[in-house]
Symmetry: C2
Subunit: 431 residues, 2 copies
């Protein structure tokens, strides 16, 4: 692992990043046709990029580029050197494959171990990881890093909130890693239990690690007060690593970025130009150290602010602010990402007579908690149990299987569909 | 890791086991109250056990013993040394916690890596692991061991059969690890695809690794012919490790047991006495090397045969035959174990007016594929939507959440319940 550069000056850090960037561009030029063609088209050689300003001539990489090179087109090493593959989705729902070498996995695991350590997690802690491992492979990183620092792992996975509380109590878990929405659900269940329905519940919990969703302030306060535990967010990108790109320290004023491995830029989502320091824009990340799946100027779709002022915790280095919103229409239902286009493709694949649909997200504390899908069919039939249409139950179970969560599904007359636009979208004006 | 003893004579292997057994008994006596009390009660000291015959005086450990010491009562090391916890269930559905030290995890991972290697899996293979990681934590061992031998891992997890086929084709997976029933489901989906519904599906698959359920001969042949791949079974015990205790070699005449780590006995399920060589009985295992969670004479509930004749593959050592059946009423629905008592507890916890229930397992190719639950209520009401009873939908969703699979649930009049005994039970006569 590269040395922790917390003691270095800003200039030293930036110089180190530039050196790594040049190596990355060389590797990408040699090993990935996609990047080589882009550089050739611009008449750029890796050695032409000597400054961060030069680097801005390099085009962005988008979610669509990733899907267009499915499965292995963007890999920079032979498959033989890849020890782990991960499947995620592009914005239209088509699959994207991310690969990791043994060294990649070790690097990312070290980053998570460092985040644990910075938050005071030691070999005396009992870490409860409450994620769906199938839908959030980042959960594996929580496991491996906890084992690496010698903490005890209670991988409670996707069991119910009641069982999570039982595990928390019986095992005396001190750290809980989960999504913000599931943490809120556990808290409600705990409150009900304390009101005498299950009996007094005692908890040794002292630290909540929340991701991959952002943690709204209201949720943070609710969880802090209700669970009497520190609440810290982690940031990752499923196409790179999650968690581990950045994490909050105990001072709670931003997500410290692992700058020796990730180069961050904030750009205007429409113009692609850098925004003035301290202003919000889309986070663009370049993986400086990834061997198998290097991403150059990847548009994360997350809108945030980059701060370079020293943190109250004493460390310098860049920090990300909270993720304010998305630049696209990605939804997140109980921590699981999905896109309207993806749901539309599933619905029409099952029943070609579906003419239109609306998604209604019922949020609690700012989190996507329930999804209602209203569907209209071209022939106006309210029930889909005829020979042409898929049965409602089958549609529900397919949606559950593909998306990973259940949705309420109703067939309505086209005239009864609400006006479009109920999904909050982030709109940036042209500059 | 202890040396692979394949080259040793039977006598050398047995002598090595006896040495490890004495160390195990000493550790258990010193560190686990439960075992010390049992030895004290029998007036046994660890040093009194000098032969395998002496060892037969040691009482069995049962699933109930494990649940009675929930959560940490049977741990032989301080929690600080435990890096992973795993939750499983005893036969009445109550939770059991198994712990692993860092050394335990490395040992078990080495065993799985050895099983891969013996089946010819190398760093050129692409291993697709299609399990529910929440319900079958053994899936983690498939992952880690594949990474250890440098194979590429495609952890496709619990996605649909259609996506599994897409992954298999796009990634050119050569090895698929999954349950026998899901493998059959993938095969049916593939056959449908080949008949033109999705298009021609090409597969590079050459090896199927199946567990944790036994693989009936009919299923094995069906999968071998349909997928044109070798089919091999693995054996594990969720209270010890899974997979990795034993695995089939390419000669296909039994599951080679990792004898340097596990001592196997076959006993009559009622009398507990050893059965004559080559006859079937209950498998009893002692973990010789487990640090955190040693189990002494643990009754696995699995009925099989132990063979000590040399294998056609050239290796000596003990082999397990196929698991013929269970000594208890454990069911397995699509690879997920459950017990009738557990289901009864869930049902009555939701609706105290439930007076009786029946489980109907619809099997395909000898595998549990669908579970029907028929429920009768004391007041004879057919619908449960009154104030006392839980709504049917709520019962279904609770069952799905707790069991990990969906069941068809119907309320029927008590008189309409079929006679009990539809669940096949293994009956042993008193000797």
């Amino acid at each position: 692992m590269a040395p922790n550069r917390d003691g270095e000056s800003r200039d030293q850090v930036r110089l180190g990043q530039l050196e790594q960037l040049q190596m990355l561009l060389n590797r990408a030029y040699l090993n990935v046709d996609f990047y080589r063609r882009r550089m050739d088209r611009l008449g750029l050689q890796p050695e032409d990029i000597a400054t961060f300003e030069d680097f801005r001539r390099f085009p962005f990489t988008t979610s669509g580029d990733l899907a267009a090179h499915y499965p292995y087109g963007l890999f920079a090493v032979p498959l033989k050197s890849v020890v782990r593959l991960k499947i995620t989705h592009s914005r239209d729902g088509s699959p994207v494959v991310v690969g990791f070498t043994r060294r990649d996995i070790q690097l990312w695991q070290n980053l998570m171990a460092r985040l644990y350590t910075q938050l005071g997690v030691t070999d005396r802690d009992i870490v409860q990881v409450a994620y769906n491992y199938s839908l959030f492979p980042g959960a594996f990183t929580f496991n491996h890093a906890a084992e690496q620092i010698g903490a005890t792992l209670a991988p409670s996975a996707m069991t119910s909130a009641t069982l999570q509380l039982k595990i928390m109590q019986d095992f005396r878990s001190t750290v809980l890693a989960t999504t913000p929405s599931f943490a809120v659900h556990i808290l409600s269940t705990l409150k009900a239990a304390r009101n005498g329905r299950i009996g007094q519940v005692k908890s040794d919990l002292r630290l909540l690690l929340l991701g991959p969703e952002p943690v709204p302030d209201e949720t943070r306060k609710l969880l802090h007060d209700g669970l009497q535990a520190e609440v810290h967010g982690l940031y990752g990108v499923s196409e790179m690593i999650e968690p581990g790109i950045a994490g909050e320290c105990r001072a709670g004023s931003g997500y410290h970025l692992a700058e020796e491995h990730f180069l961050a830029e904030i750009v205007h989502p429409v113009s692609g130009q850098p925004v003035p320091a301290g202003q919000e824009g889309e986070l663009v990340i370049t993986t400086l150290a990834a061997e198998a799946y290097p991403l150059i100027r990847y548009r994360t779709g997350d809108v945030t602010v980059l701060r370079e002022t020293p943190c109250a915790c004493g460390r310098g280095g860049a920090r990300l602010g909270e993720i304010l919103r998305r630049t696209d229409d990605r939804l997140s239902i109980r921590g699981i990402p999905c896109y309207p286009a993806q749901i539309g493709n599933i619905l029409r694949g099952l029943d070609p007579s579906i003419s239109d649909f609306r998604l209604l997200v019922h949020r609690r504390f700012g989190l996507g908690d329930h999804l209602d899908i209203l569907v209209a069919r071209a022939d106006g039939r309210r029930l889909a149990a005829d020979s042409r249409g898929a049965d409602l139950d089958q549609m529900r179970s397919t949606l559950r299987r593909v998306l990973g969560f259940g949705a309420r599904l109703q067939i309505v007359a086209a005239a009864d569909l609400p006006a479009p636009g109920l999904i909050e979208k982030t709109v940036f004006l042209d500059p």
